[in-house]
């Protein structure tokens, strides 16, 4: 088969579809699922040998978004453990202060969050799309956009002899730093300050040891989010329990990491050696390590989400919600991907796949959690990554706790306000600033 491609060169005949979805991560699989369910001819292009082969994340997926998309998903999803304990830990080199929450409610259907491995989860979700009729093309890289004479996107070029896949709509779900979104002019040149680097290790640990050390039963899991573990670099850490392994890692500001000259693996090594963490990991052995960018700029840094013949979803559209208390990306990818699929179906029905014809996508996202949460928490990244929250508050809170709980007999116990004033001064923080940040936090998160 040979024919003329849109750029005038002769090559293999392009293959025609109703939609081409690039990237079989959670966003792409969901977009393909929505389109296949609508009876559209959709192809899902993935560069890895199978969906999830190349994907990195911390480890917790919040499944509520799946309730409508895959009813009863919890009976079949490849879960490692259901999160029943969530800890938020502040630490210094020698101290830690945790707010630890546990509930039985999260340990049974419909559950809240789960640890799952991406090689299993992504393959499962893409399997839903192929079961519904989507075509999955693995080990294939989309190398560029194909445009018609009017500049509208009408397909993608692939690395298989440059052959093209043509469709009225391309949905770019190719993840953070999306080359397709950049080529379309939707995403500016990557701005380092809008990104963090996540590095993590998966450590093998027998299930019995996990249950004992994290105080859980089989199938129950723990999510620990940590502040104050990244030296002078703004960021945070995490520790999640899988079935027979744990995921531990840090997420740090990209420009500040570069400026510090610190190797990211040194930060993980610090965290693993911390007196509050080391006993949990004793005897664990390294299974794998990985690193990946996270688009953490939030609502204010999101690109336009549609162009003529093109939509972007998931991390390609900077949709990870990284707002201190939360690091959620997979659910946002699923929500946006599914909405992109549905908007494409509507545009195809109307025969208008221009940016205007695809505009219902954004409206959909505004109406549901994806953009609503981002909008509400748009100021969170700057607060969470601010110097005081990063550098001063973890130590301040730990010292406050130490001051409160250290028994000083025969000296009488210090009063709360006096202690706060002393400790704040020790950390170079004025009470006014503390109150101001508390108020700011309440406004953002409240």
């Amino acid at each position: 088969m040979s024919g003329t491609t849109t750029n005038g060169t002769t090559g293999p005949e392009p293959l025609e579809f109703d939609a081409v979805v690039v990237g079989a991560g959670p966003a792409g699989a969901s977009a393909a699922l929505a389109l296949a369910r609508a009876g559209r001819r959709v192809v899902l292009v993935e560069r890895g040998p199978f969906p999830g082969a190349k994907n990195v994340y911390g480890g917790v997926v919040y499944g509520r978004v799946l309730d409508d998309i895959v009813p009863g998903w919890w009976d079949e999803v490849p879960v490692e453990r259901w999160i029943v304990r969530r800890s938020t830990m502040m630490m210094t080199g020698t101290q830690s202060l945790s707010v630890d929450f546990r509930t039985d409610a999260w340990g049974s259907a419909p559950y809240n969050g789960m640890t799952t491995l991406r090689c299993h989860f992504d393959a499962w979700l893409a399997g839903k799309a192929t079961d519904a009729g989507a075509r999955l093309l693995t080990s294939t890289v989309a190398t560029g956009l194909v445009r018609d004479g009017d500049g509208r996107v009408v397909g993608v070029r692939t690395d298989r002899d440059g052959a093209e896949l043509h469709a009225p709509v391309v949905i770019a779900c190719d993840g953070v730093n999306s080359f397709l979104a950049k080529e379309a002019g939707l995403l500016a040149r990557a701005e380092a300050s809008h990104h963090t680097l996540g590095v993590k290790e998966v450590l093998d640990l027998p299930p019995g040891a996990i249950n004992e050390r994290f105080a859980v039963q089989d199938h129950e899991g723990v999510d620990v989010e940590i502040l104050g573990c990244t030296r002078e670099i703004p960021g945070g850490g995490f520790l999640y329990t899988n079935a027979d392994s744990v995921s531990i890692g840090v997420v740090v500001s990209l420009p500040e990491l570069a400026a510090s000259g610190v190797r990211p693996e040194a930060l993980i090594a610090d965290l693993k050696a911390h007196p509050s963490i080391a006993p949990l990991l004793r005897g664990a052995s390294l299974r794998e390590y990985a690193a990946h960018l996270i688009p953490e700029g939030g609502y204010d840094t999101m690109p336009a989400l549609a162009a003529d013949g093109l939509l972007i979803a998931g991390d390609a559209g900077a949709m990870t919600l990284a707002a201190g208390l939360w690091l959620e990306g997979v659910n946002f990818a699923i929500g946006s991907g599914y909405a992109a699929g549905r908007a494409t179906d509507r545009a195809l029905s109307r025969g208008d796949c221009s940016a205007a014809g695809l505009a219902s996508y954004r409206a959909d996202l505004e109406a549901q959690f994806v953009l609503a949460d981002h909008k509400r928490l748009r100021k969170a990244p700057s607060l969470v990554l601010s110097e005081r929250v990063q550098q001063h508050y973890p130590g301040l809170l730990c010292d406050l706790a130490e001051g409160m709980f250290t028994v000083t007999n025969p000296t009488p116990k210090p009063g709360g306000l006096k202690l706060t004033r002393t400790v704040a001064a020790r950390h170079g923080v004025k009470l006014r600033q503390l109150a101001g940040d508390t108020l700011r936090g309440l406004r953002i998160f409240g």
Binding site: P12, F50, A163
Partner: protein, 327 residues
């Protein structure tokens, strides 16, 4: 053995038949450092470099001869995605089910124990396609394959065999017949060149060629297609008593050689005495057996003399036993 049919295999149209026997397994199995247990992951399943080279050679030969390629793999369902990728390259594929029951891992152990049975099974499974002109295998798989399969296949098919090749290509022999020209490595950087008549079974190293990528159309056409499964084909049992059966592999344990303690005071001289450095050695004896049977006798005699064979199970021919340190 196993198991129910799924899809009927339809033999391809006429033309020289090139078969690739592929061993598809986890490319990075984990080995427990304490007890040696090998754990395989179905997500790591793929073609070893040697099997990929075998497939590429098969495709090139079929192209050169306007023939057809049949790729066959004995294995559980988890090998099917890889066979689909092979189908995308234009080969007719077939899976011979084995180990579908349970976790599908046991099969590797079974096959390693009975490569002759495996060869018979493959030959039976290939029967609907007609007699193969060339069968290609990788010279060794990543998951403890013995490399013995191609020799057994040649035996079963009554074909010539050329194993461990680095170069393979089609030629026409002096009588105008299609044949193969092959090269394999010898010691000291030498290579030997072989003229291999058809039908032939060849195994190739994972070197020299790189497996091509499927076209976009080919990849899409193969995606999601059912992989034909050989119809309920019992694994043909291993041959009965009287034949040679390799047991579980033993660790290499050369016999202890007792060396007299060196007398020199100078440590350097003691070391020289102990290592035998600077001492003139008898060069290896080069034997030139007249035929393959005689060569086998010489090899067996050597192995028996050095303690590698259980003397109660192998009768050493008189003639060979008198040879000195043959290989």
């Amino acid at each position: 053995m196993t198991t129910a049919p799924t899809t009927e295999v339809h033999p391809a149209p006429d033309g020289p038949l090139v078969v690739a026997c592929l061993r598809i397994g986890d490319l990075r199995p984990t080995v427990d450092p304490l007890d040696g247990t090998v754990t395989r992951d179905r997500l790591g399943v793929g073609l070893s470099p040697a099997d990929a080279a075998a497939l590429e050679h098969a495709l090139r030969l079929a192209e050169a001869w306007s023939g057809r390629v049949v790729a066959v793999c004995v294995g559980p369902e988890s090998v099917e995605p890889v066979l689909r990728d092979v189908a995308a390259l234009g080969a007719t594929v077939m899976r011979v089910p084995l180990g579908d029951e349970g976790d599908g891992h046991r099969y590797v152990g079974e096959l390693a124990e009975d490569e002759h049975g495996l060869a018979r099974t493959l030959v039976a499974a290939l029967a609907p396609f007609g007699a193969p002109d060339v069968v290609l295998c990788g010279d060794r798989s990543v998951d403890r394959g013995t490399g013995a399969l191609p020799a057994y296949l040649a035996h079963e098919l009554g074909a010539a065999q050329a194993l461990g090749l680095v170069v393979l290509g089609p030629v026409t022999d002096s009588a105008g017949r299609q044949a193969l020209l092959a090269e394999r490595r010898l010691d000291a950087g030498w290579r030997e060149r072989l003229n291999v008549p058809l039908p032939a079974v060849c195994s190739v190293e994972g070197a020299g060629v790189r497996l091509r990528r499927a076209s976009l159309a080919g990849a899409l056409a193969a995606e999601g297609e059912p992989v034909p499964v050989a119809r309920s084909l019992a694994v043909v049992a291993a041959p009965g008593p009287g034949s040679f059966h390799a047991g579980a592999p033993q660790p290499f344990r050369p016999r202890t050689r007792v060396l007299p303690a060196p007398h020199d005071d100078d440590p350097r001289l003691r070391l020289l005495t102990l290592t035998g450095a600077l001492v003139a050695h008898e060069p290896p004896t080069v034997v030139e057996p007249a035929d393959a049977a005689e060569a086998a006798d010489v090899l067996l005699a050597f192995l028996a003399r050095h303690g590698y064979l259980d003397d109660t199970r192998v009768t050493i021919p008189e003639r060979a036993a008198t040879e000195d340190d043959a290989p």
